[in-house]
Symmetry: none
Subunit: 233 residues, 4 copies
DNA sequence: CATGAATGAGCGTTCATTCAT
DNA sequence: GATGAATGAACGCTCATTCAT
């Protein structure tokens, strides 16, 4: 790769000028439509938007999936980076976390294909993009932890999953009631703060038995009597 | 059913001996594939799975959408009901909420079509199923509120959205790392508890400026000095 | 057939009461929809309209075509009869012919399936209905011929074909411009009158060479001497 | 074609070498089956006949209707043009009319879809094909009128309707008894000639009262409600 | 290498006909 | 005999992918 010189004498001469431009056009167009319509888009529409023939598209990306993966990786990276930028600009560790989510969610919600894909590739270590994101979050996590503002036991994966989780809330409400997901974000982040002392569950055991957790309050279950005996059927 | 004897006096006996069975087969098969593959399934596959011809399927459900709606309504109702049951069996108001989420998420995550639909019909008051669920949550909300365990300002819609949001987290992790979403649920629920005093944001304003949360501290205290407002305990 | 008595002792007892009524319902309903929608109609709609099950319909008429033929024969007969009635009520032979067409066309145009069928069975001697109609026309033809009002050489088949031909004109214009087909009928009937002396062509030879008549003669119109140059004026 | 030499200098050479051929194959095949079976044909059969895949057919004609319209327009135009040619080759105005009908009917009768379409678009000024035809007829009409051979009051629409009307007669007899429609054409055309003096009816009034216009005028019963005798059924 | 025409499996849906009740 | 549920071939149409130019 570094020694391109040797290749200049081979038959591969100039064709790359257009090819590269075409490839970029395709990716750009694909990014747009994938964000808008998800992976169910017609490949033809991507070709049309990018101004190349369908044949050219298939030369660069032999399968639709190849194109989708390429684009998602790029978009994912860009997205992760913009969120990272938002985070490092904050001086306060907690604000960094908050800003990160704010920025990430705004972008995430607007990219339908990333959402679809996140669910699928969630645990796939091959999906390089996820790893990038994990790194960013890891840093945020470490920083917040060091500052003592993060609830003990919260892991990078928790934060990653929370991001994914909130993403769908954003998507569902961003158009109609954009303030709603902000409320939810606030709620969730508050659950992440250090004040809480109870350790998080570390395995699959149900949290319900702990849940009520409030010994002092004793859930004497004041109200709801009527419903109690209610017809279970 | 128990009193089959009455049957002999009824007039319309057999008209549906197998028709009913077929209809149920179809619904059952559809429920499976819709849960697994979402609404994009081929109706022929449902017919094949249920052991009937495509014509029979269309006799019972003239449009694919009819079948999908029927199945989704049933599954949605069953799901909401099972979650409600889990909730009313808990004596403590908080445990009710927790158990409700626990139960609901387990089921929700396994039904792809319900998830798709939830996102689409999120705010659609016509979707009867959603209304059922909202009622259940409303009661939980009221009960927890009355017991003083719910953070002031939390609405039914917040809880509904949280459910939807967590659903995707569950879907993403249920197979590979089932304990993960339990952690996230715990985190989110903790954010809903009453100790937190700051009001939730009520409009679209970014929460990032509040970041650290604590109104008293404002943003000036980046890193949680003395543990802020002191632990809830 | 004639000796039904012998059959009364066989096992065929009463079932005919309903069966006959059903058969008639089916035929009546079929007549309606065939007239309105043609033979492309869905058999189910006929069953629905007649109030019987699709199975019953198929018991009486094992193939859709059986039902169609039966109905068409009946409707065809009724139609021919009503036209015949219109004809015999006229005292004048020419008026009989005119009234016949008038009546027949009105009915013909309103029965889509008969029109479709007429084209198909035009030359089919098996189609009994056609024969009925031919008889009627034959009588009209003979009568007009005897009265000397019919152009020599005009055959029953000519009149039958004219009827069929005009039928489509009626269908095309009855809704939008009902007077138009009356004009056309008038034109055609005028062509049938006795004044014209030239013999009709009797084989497939093109009429064009004769038609306008001889180029040499120009429009001087070979026949109709007396009237010849005499323009209509 | 003769000057292929020019080809070498053109830029867009091949883009349609076979595409054009395919398109023509499709149109040709469609023309055949539409003529034979009408618009109810299966598009797959057209594809099969033309030797292309169904996808190719749909590439050229995104909707079945597009194909049908294209073919009908072409066939209609060709048909009208051939009839026009036949007409202008005749020196005599009346022969022009006759030859026009002769030619037009020969073609018309062989094209089922055109017949279906004619009936539907009869009065539709949007159907370009009809307008072409109307123009041709208008000229024939004017010419014959000027020569004094056309019965006064005959309109372009009369001639158009007559064409349509006779078309069905031709279709019904062309196979079995091809000379028959020639007789009918002769009869009808004779009805159009100038000698006849009575004006054509101009509204929906029944012509029966005027009937042959016979001096003797038997049919004193003028109105006799259309359905005289009513439906015997 | 770019192009877009060609391909055909597959989808949602209809309807004449059969068959168990 | 009456019923209507069951059946599946066929239809109009889409779209990922291949291939000749």
């Amino acid at each position: 790769m570094a020694v391109d010189g040797s290749k200049t004498t081979t038959r591969r001469r100039a064709p790359r000028a257009d090819a590269v431009r075409n490839r970029e056009s395709i990716i750009e167009a694909a990014s747009q439509v994938l964000a808008e319509q998800g992976t169910a888009v017609d490949v033809r529409e991507i070709a049309r938007l990018s101004g190349v023939g369908i044949g050219t598209l298939y030369r660069h990306f032999p399968k639709k999936e190849d194109l989708v993966c390429t684009v998602l990786y790029l978009d994912f990276s860009r997205w992760a980076e913009s969120a990272r930028q938002a985070a490092i600009e904050a001086e306060d560790p907690w604000a960094a976390l908050t800003d990160f989510y704010q920025q990430a969610l705004s972008g995430y919600a607007r990219h339908r294909a990333i959402m679809e894909n996140f669910a699928l590739t969630w645990a796939d270590p091959d999906m390089e993009g996820i790893q990038q994101l994990r790194l960013v979050i890891e840093q945020l996590c470490t920083r917040a932890d060091a500052a003592g503002v993060l609830r003990p036991g919260v892991t990078t994966d928790d934060l990653l999953l929370l991001l994914h989780s909130l993403g769908h809330a954003v998507r569902s409400t961003d158009q109609s009631r954009p303030h709603m997901w902000n409320r939810l974000l606030r709620i969730s982040l508050d659950g992440l703060r250090a004040y809480r002392c109870e350790p998080l569950p570390t395995d699959a055991s149900s949290i319900s038995t702990v849940a009520g957790g409030m010994p002092t309050e004793g859930m004497s279950a004041p109200e709801h009597p009527g419903r109690a005996g209610g017809p279970p059927g």
